[in-house]
């Protein structure tokens, strides 16, 4: 079961990477970054799973709690990823104000 989680995370990451490399619209590039980030975070969260585990809230409802460490990393990484993407979107707004288009090929500085 955990293999399905890991597999989904890796598939998301690869789809995001392909989108980043192949798409010409700046927004789609930012969405690709978001997809990749989602894949990595899913991978991190799945790492902490223990079969039959309960949420790490005291008093525990069962015997074993799932690993709380990956959850805290995920919380931190979500915030960091969201900041990066917010900044990317702000830059896209500024680029659009100057060029009127968000196509990578037409924007001079972004080729190559």
């Amino acid at each position: 079961m955990i293999l399905l989680s890991y597999g989904t995370a890796i598939v998301l990451f690869v789809i995001g990477l392909c989108t980043l490399l192949f798409r010409r619209n700046l927004f789609k590039i930012v969405i690709a970054l978001s997809l990749m980030e989602g894949g990595v975070l899913l991978l991190i969260t799945s790492m902490g799973y223990i079969p039959g585990g309960v949420p790490p809230l005291l008093p525990l409802l069962g015997e074993q709690a799932v690993n709380p460490l990956p959850q805290s990393f995920t919380l931190t990484a979500i915030v960091i990823g969201a900041s990066d993407i917010a900044l990317a979107l702000a830059y896209i707004i500024k680029i659009y104000h100057h060029y009127g288009t968000v196509d990578v090929d037409k924007i001079r500085g972004l080729r190559g």
């Binding site: 990595v40 990393f73 960091i80 993407i85 990317a88 830059y91 680029i95 500085g109 972004l110």
Partner: protein, 302 residues
């Protein structure tokens, strides 16, 4: 001397500057310069006193529970570099930019705090968090002032590459955690020889690949010439003199701690790659100002 002061002094200055702008606008230059002076002093003190090696854990916990900060001679060298480079860049940018856009100084001090944070980090996830502060501050410094469209485009390109590198670093860190359950760099050193082959390969590939992208070294150098040529002079000097050194330090630290025994050939390959035809090809593409950026050496801000 607790290494956390190297991070806290610039961080508190960065938090105080907006308050200074709102309440004591006349005193803003005094606040900025005194903040810079004390931060340089703090980082220098940590470097000198930590030459032999200091290791503390935040909050007084045991090393595997809390976040460790560690200074040794390698970090001390780089700390001295930042405590010289940043004040010089501060003086030069104060002269060039003036005091109208105070937010530039906030970002400047945050980049200083995060660079010091990378240099004293002893825990790998903490290294990643400070790396992200450093990267965001670097993107913003490159794009200042935002009226120049060239700077904004160069900064966007840097952002895409930098975020890609950061995601690979995060992936590498998550594989380290998956394999060992530990994040303290000193404790991880003992775990690494025992890791299975494919996992070690993934960790090495992701971490080193991500850091190479952030360094701007071949083969992921695409953002470097644009960023350095579009940035204004003090920022460009800061970028090439100091800000490229932080990922380099992380590469050195992670490489020597974790990967030197399994992969000595890796380092030989990349140390020669700058002299290869690849490296010369990069140089050919660069114009005069850009060529200064392609061979980043510390130089006096003009």
């Amino acid at each position: 001397m607790n290494p956390v002061f190297a991070v806290l002094l610039p961080l508190c200055t960065a938090f105080l500057i907006p308050l200074g702008f709102i309440f004591f606008r006349r005193a803003l230059p005094l606040l900025v310069f005194s903040g810079g002076f004390f931060s340089a002093l703090g980082a220098g003190a940590v470097a000198f006193l930590g030459w032999g090696g200091i290791s503390t854990v935040m909050g007084g916990w045991a090393p595997e529970l809390g976040i460790a900060l560690k200074v040794d001679s390698l970090s001390a060298c780089f700390l001295l570099l930042t405590s010289l480079g940043f004040p010089l860049a501060l003086l030069s940018s104060a002269e060039e930019f003036g005091w109208h856009s105070w937010r530039f100084y906030v970002i400047f001090f945050l980049s200083w705090a995060s660079t010091n944070g990378i240099l004293v980090a002893g825990d790998i996830f903490n290294l990643f968090v400070f790396f992200e502060i450093f990267s965001v501050a670097a993107y913003l410094l490159v794009s200042f002032p935002a009226s120049s469209w060239q700077a904004v485009e160069a900064s966007f390109k840097y952002l895409i590459f930098g975020t890609l590198g950061a995601l690979f670093i995060l992936l590498g860190i998550s594989y380290i955690f998956m394999a060992t359950g530990q994040l303290n760099m000193a404790l991880l050193q003992d775990f690494f020889p025992a890791l299975p082959g494919p996992t070690l390969g993934v960790i090495a590939g992701c971490l080193l690949g991500g850091l190479l992208v952030k360094c701007g070294s071949a083969p992921a150098h695409f953002w470097l010439p644009d960023a350095h040529s579009s940035a204004r002079a003090p920022v460009s000097a800061l970028l090439s003199g100091v800000l490229v050194k932080a990922p380099l330090y992380a590469l050195l630290r992670l490489g020597t701690l974790f990967f030197l025994s399994p992969f000595p050939a890796f380092f030989r390959f990349f140390s020669f790659s700058a002299l290869s035809p690849w490296g010369w090809g990069i140089l050919w593409r660069c114009s005069r100002k850009r060529s200064n950026a392609c061979w980043p050496i510390p130089r006096w801000p003009r």
